[in-house]
Symmetry: C2
Subunit: 192 residues, 2 copies
DNA sequence: AAGTATCGATACCGAGAGTAGCGTAAGGGG
DNA sequence: CCCCTTACGCTACTCTCGGTATCGATACTT
């Protein structure tokens, strides 16, 4: 009811559509310089935008990165015949996304920041994780705690490899991850 | 030949044995305030030591944390009858250590810093990860890349849970992790 | 006593997150 | 047309933190 009215435009100068430009600049800057050196000033410069404009749209660097990741990931594609095919395609999709330039570093970086920032942790878990948790719960028919465990294993493993080596996980190891996860989550298996 | 001579003591004032005090202060400060607010100044104050003394012994905050983690973890106990028992006890030991106050936060924090700091990444992977990788390779008779994958899965999963919730993984989920990992690494299994 | 190296204290530098203030641009409605 | 409202760019600023420099005092050896 608030902004759904077709043409109820708010007064004042309309926002220029720079969100997409800022997202692209964020990922490319992180890809080129790494997470720590990708300062807000540099991201703003790469986007051709004033730093204050970024802070008018996002309250903190962390939330900018989370929004950027939401944009980069998009909705998770959950097609596939059986459960096994569905889960393995989900794992491969997450691995592929994390392997895209800048995405893995951005994810690992904001994740690390969240360790010491409870507010950012809430943003990260509700805005990003819940989106895929709910989709997976729906598609797999698994209870919440099982899906959370699944996400911990898949994302945790991929990020740990990324953080330790600086490179995304190679296909052979992603295949190993699938082979490890699948039997545990096969129909009717598991302890709970 | 350098310092092995029994009583070849170097000249000058000997170092006071404050390493243990600094390690304890580091973990307790991180436990109380979180990783980001655990500044070097605060750690020094908690240890009753000047900040400059810390920087005389460790070249950076990251290396201090790595040394602190090395001290907190100690050597991995690898006793156990069969392979399965050996692996499950290893997983539980790592989970327990990460659950100790301050240790998980410190680990996740320094891990995050390593994402943007290649030098710290080298320190982390050679000083900390290699220690347990070599012990596990020796005890399990697995090739390097399999043990690295094992570490990615176990540590990655535990740290992801810690980072997302702020709390270490509960025993039930650690048990699930064991049940997932064991069949994959059973004798003769696996793709490679 | 002389020499050497550590410790504590204070002051400092540089970088980066985030904010304040101001003039200006881009739309609306009278 | 002029006014109102909001967004934008710009500059300058504060604050925190990692890390460094300097100096006098201290501990231990020879």
């Amino acid at each position: 009811m608030s902004r759904a009215s077709t043409s109820a435009r708010p007064p004042g100068r309309p926002r220029s559509g720079v969100n997409a430009v800022v997202f692209a600049a964020t990922l490319s800057t992180i890809d080129e310089l790494g997470y720590a050196r990708a300062t807000v000033d540099r991201i703003a410069a790469a986007a051709g935008v004033a730093k204050t404009t970024i802070y008018r749209r996002w309250p903190s660097k962390g939330e900018l990165i989370v929004d950027c990741l939401l944009d980069a990931f998009g909705p998770i594609p959950l097609e596939g015949a059986g459960r096994a095919e569905l889960m393995s395609s989900a794992v491969r999709w997450i691995a592929a996304k994390i392997g895209e330039p800048g995405v893995g570093d951005a994810f690992a970086g904001v994740f690390s920041d969240a360790v010491s920032d409870p507010a950012l942790r809430v943003v990260l878990s509700t805005r990003l994780q819940d989106r895929y948790r709910l989709a997976l719960q729906d598609a797999l028919g698994e209870p919440e705690h099982r899906v959370l465990f699944f996400i911990d294993v898949v994302v945790g493993t991929l990020l740990h490899r990324m953080g330790m080596t600086g490179e995304p996980m190679v296909d052979a190891d992603v295949a190993a991850l699938v082979e490890m996860v699948l039997p545990y989550f096969a129909d009717g298996a598991g302890p709970t």
